[in-house]
Symmetry: C2
Subunit: 358 residues, 2 copies
Amino acid sequence: MQSITVNLKQRSYSIDIERGAISTFADRHSKMDQVSRWMIITQPNLVDDYGTLLLMSMKKVGLPCDLITVPCGESAKSISQIEKLYRQLLSNNCDRNTLLIALGGGVVGDVTGFVASTYMRGIKYIQFPTTLLAMIDSSIGGKTGVNLLEGKNLVGAIYQPKKVIIDPNLLDTLPKREKVSGFAEMLKYGLIRDKEFFRKISDGSLPNNLNDESLLEESIARSCKIKANIVATDEYESGLRRILNFGHTIGHAFETLTNDGVLRHGEAVAYGMLCSGYISFKKGLISKSEWNEIEGTLRKLSLPKFDIPDHDEILKTIRHDKKNYEGKLHFVLLDGIGNAITNDSLSDQDIVQSLEVL
Amino acid sequence: MQSITVNLKQRSYSIDIERGAISTFADRHSKMDQVSRWMIITQPNLVDDYGTLLLMSMKKVGLPCDLITVPCGESAKSISQIEKLYRQLLSNNCDRNTLLIALGGGVVGDVTGFVASTYMRGIKYIQFPTTLLAMIDSSIGGKTGVNLLEGKNLVGAIYQPKKVIIDPNLLDTLPKREKVSGFAEMLKYGLIRDKEFFRKISDGSLPNNLNDESLLEESIARSCKIKANIVATDEYESGLRRILNFGHTIGHAFETLTNDGVLRHGEAVAYGMLCSGYISFKKGLISKSEWNEIEGTLRKLSLPKFDIPDHDEILKTIRHDKKNYEGKLHFVLLDGIGNAITNDSLSDQDIVQSLEVL
């Protein structure tokens, strides 16, 4: 088992990476202190493959454990669904010492984390991600999110889990498109923080690299380490943590302005990174050869085609992002591969010009 | 102006006590860093006396400020009301750098604090209490709460305000019954932590003491100091903070089991303190003369009469309290006036016996 620590003083926790962790979880946690009850929160489509396995193994070692599901997709992230979850916890006798296990992708992690942060003024939870994207990104750092009609993740909290458990075996059943989406975020870590890592994973014939088990596992660990370090430095996103948004500002606009399902999150981010890389090149922050390297790698992801939204709509969406402070856009650029910086003075024209590369 | 600090490292804040603070607030805060917009959250019945005054003074110094109201009473604390508040903040262009001002009693503080803890993953808020109870208790320590159909405060967070502003002038319009309710919590602070303070405020002809302005102001400050120290020692209520529940375990049961409006919170707590004091006496923790002193003081509050609920119902309600851990009841007793302790092994009989004194 490989273990990475997210250093946050009293809120520190470990990211444990181990093949087969879903089968060993119950044994490893059977003597956890101050936990009176366990509750697995997952999605219907994960019950057969993983939910039942985890639930049964918990019961086998005598742990009081139940399982509840939330709907698939963003609809799980509504306030009314959250209220339903609270009440399900109550009817299952979950008290302050109940520990929730978020078994799923980003949506399950978001709602479980939010419910944990607010049920009885805060209870413990563990992230048990089942997608590559959740393993290397959303399960780490305590961001939770709930949607309003007006937009995504407008409600939430930064509330750290007690642990993140990563079982790379769970990726065996993950659709290739989901893997590529997660892989795009891996490339992001390399681009913003670790040139050597970027070169290592972009080398060779992508995305077939994803099937190389040891490379995949090593890359997961390296990605987690990068994210853990950034979160430990800036838990509440007042500075450094912003660089994690590389490719996300424009990427989010693409996600928002296209129909559901057209672009996966990682795909939108990949397109966003293409634009942001191009802006970095145009501003003279990266060389022509670095730009070629970035573009070449991202093009190999065989991203789905999509209709580029209206430029004014893109700009409007970007300017309305909740991350903006007093109208200032903290745009993330690359000052060389492996070194992200934020820029507060990007013009609309810079952004529109970058859409050329799509 | 008197200022008391709640020491919580990066989350430290001050409790500022000043007559006329509502009129000086805008000037004092006109240069506050990183605040893009202000939003007063209050109740309809407070708009004329205080809401408009604060709003106009904010506008006068050029601060972008709006005001929204929540319904009076516990109905404001439903999940659907919280969702409505989020959406009102959005439609008022409140971003991450908006600062909310909770202008009201405990309910306004609870909902404003909760919304602040979760809107856009957490924004700043200031507590501006208008009741004695809120000034000395609920506005300090960051407890926020939302109700579910199944019970009160089952959802919430511990999320500290940036500041607590206490303007004792606001008590001029407070009904006497509300003052007595707050006064009961003051007596609690004396009983659990400060014998001299207890004697000082229980001396003379209660509750007329409440009209002695300088004694009232001094007592508010002393109460705030006691609460601030306890919260600073144990922010998340894993130990010492539990003593604040003196009189609350049985008191909450009375509140839950009587019709709305029969008992104010402080009145129920006063009755609870009577029972808990009696148990302390029966267990030999306080002397006969101390018990007489406590009983005499509480009886002077001229509490409203109420029908004592069924004993089994009281026990059931107490055992279901969310504060219990693995069925263990952390009951607060007095080991002498001014020194609270917790007891984990109280029997049902101890509790039932204490109801005799009512």
